[in-house]
Amino acid sequence: MNIVVCIKQVPDTTEVKLDPKTGTLIREGVPSIINPDDKAGLEAALRLKDQYGAKVTVVSMGPPQADAALKEAVAMGADQAILLSDRAFGGSDTWATSTVIASALKKLDYDLIITGRQAIDGDTAQVGPQIAEHLGIPNISYAEDIKLEGDHIIVKRKYEDRYHIIKCKLPCLITALSELNVPRYMTPGRIFDAYRNEELATKVWGVNDVPVDTTVIGLKGSPTNVFKSFTKAPKAAGNVYKPDTAEEAAQIIVDKLQEKFIL
């Protein structure tokens, strides 16, 4: 079985801070990680490999330094790494990104494709289903459990107030939730292999290596553009009271609730 896992290298947004003077993002010193949902997807693939045997290929699109994420994936147990990296891919929105990735996947053998549900820097949850659409295969989003049954996959698909237990024939694409599992650590031997074993070296594919229409990718080919970005203006301050007693404090609150017809 061939499993392809799509991963993204993201800044650890929980570490992103705002410059209090300028209101802009401080990006320096923010560590890069494998996006958490993607890492859970990779772990799911590696568990299927452990159980049934499979070749696991990790694919990422990004700048050359995204190779660090692919090396980490190989050190966790992936068998092959492909980095889609080219200036022509830069500035792609989700439509264009999914088009580039899908065109690369067309060159690979796959029975199952796993992506994360969403990346923590963009939070769009779009690229997975869009890849499936470009490839013309079914997708099952928000997977909280995955089981293989012959040439079918059984997925526990999460909704707000229920789960659907869904059976789907391979090939298909699944988007993984980080609740799916706890990803394994890299092993020292695999870390060594990831950096030294030539057979495991990341293959870098540029725009000439994938069968893609260059008019529909990159900044110019993207249907959506960023019109402007800004930091949120804080809400105008209300009144802050320092009452002497709890009784007085409670009265201020209750008066306000009555004034606003909440009471």
Partner: protein, 336 residues
């Protein structure tokens, strides 16, 4: 594509168990304003089975027209039959704007359909407006964990698609006298669209009211001190017909469950009353509640950032104040 052929504001009316999702009614509320600004009409697209009652609800909440695709295959959500039907509606009616709720359904259907019809999709919007100069839809969404906001446009492709977070737009009150057209869109959904099989549907209902549905949220943070102190918040929430919520810190501490979490990584809420008790007000938390109508904050620390967002801030000991708030509310209610 000639974008001038595309007209009207369409809302995907999500139904589950033959009940229209509240986010869809919120989208009709906002969609009405956008349609007015664009000088056009508001249409709800209803995919389901036995749709008649739901179609009436959509008219009552502001839709000028409902396009109903009524088919047994659309009764329970499956990606492909829905994507097929919604694509056919787009091809046939050519809307300029198509809005979906950023739900577990909308965030699956939206990207699949946008890829199929080759148009842009902006995810998880918290603001929608029309550019007066050129009529483009301005779609504003948080990025980088809510640290910055980005306004996205889709100038050359139609429809301009967006998913919108539940709880950020305001639904119109139901108007029983509202008039609108209900059009049945006849569609043969090919059997091949059923490319998955739903083996089982398992309920996973929270015991408590969904925090996005609550008009009153009594919310606790780390300053509550213990899990037991949330009992006091429950009592006040019960009196006011609301429920409790919390900051992420309390979820991480195990004092509350993840479904209670307000903020960037939790839910966005906009109740009539948000009472923040012992919540310091980190930016990720404020992103999830700052649009509430009335924000009351109680905190010991007068430098807590929550006071910048609060309409009424009280510097004091919440363990002393909250029981008195409860008592006073009960007295006022008893007197009515």
């Amino acid at each position: 594509m000639n974008i001038n052929d595309y007209k009207g504001v369409f809302v995907f009316a999500q139904q589950v168990d033959n009940k229209v999702a509240s986010v869809s009614l919120e989208l009709l509320g906002r969609g009405k304003g956008i349609a007015n600004d664009m000088n056009t009409t508001l249409t709800a697209v209803l995919l389901g089975h036995n749709n008649d009652e739901m179609a009436k609800t959509l008219i009552q909440h502001g839709a000028d027209k409902v396009i109903s695709v009524d088919d047994p295959m659309l009764e329970v959500y499956m990606t492909e039959p829905y994507a097929y039907a919604l694509t056919k509606v787009i091809e046939n009616y050519k809307p300029s704007v198509l809005l979906l709720g950023a739900t577990a359904i909308g965030r699956d259907l939206g990207p699949r359909v946008s890829a199929r019809v080759h148009t842009g999709l902006t995810a998880d919007c918290t603001g929608l407006a029309i550019d007066e100069e050129n009529g483009n839809l301005l779609m504003t969404r948080p990025a980088f964990g809510g640290n910055i906001m980005a306004t996205i446009i889709c100038p050359a492709f139609r429809p301009q698609m967006a998913t919108v977070r539940p709880g950020v737009m305001q639904a119109l009150a139901a108007n029983a006298d509202a008039k609108g057209e209900i059009e049945k869109f006849e569609l043969e959904i090919p059997a091949s669209c059923k490319n998955v099989e739903i083996l089982e549907i398992v309920e996973n209902k929270p015991e408590r009211m969904n925090i996005q549905d609550a008009n009153v949220l009594i919310s606790g943070g780390r300053g509550m001190g213990t899990a037991e102190n949330f009992g006091q918040l429950e009592k006040i929430a019960d009196l006011l017909g609301g429920t409790i919520s919390s900051s992420r810190a309390c979820v991480d501490l195990g004092w509350t469950t993840p479904d209670r979490q307000v903020g960037q990584t939790g839910s966005t809420v906009r109740p009539n009353l948000y009472m923040a008790c012992g919540i310091s007000g980190q930016i990720q938390h404020l992103a999830g509640m700052e649009d509430s109508d009335l924000i009351v904050a109680i905190n010991k620390d007068e430098t807590a950032p929550i006071f910048n967002a609060a309409d009424v801030g009280i510097v004091g000991d919440l363990n002393a104040i909250l029981p008195l708030v409860e008592k006073k509310i009960a007295e006022i209610q008893a007197a009515k």
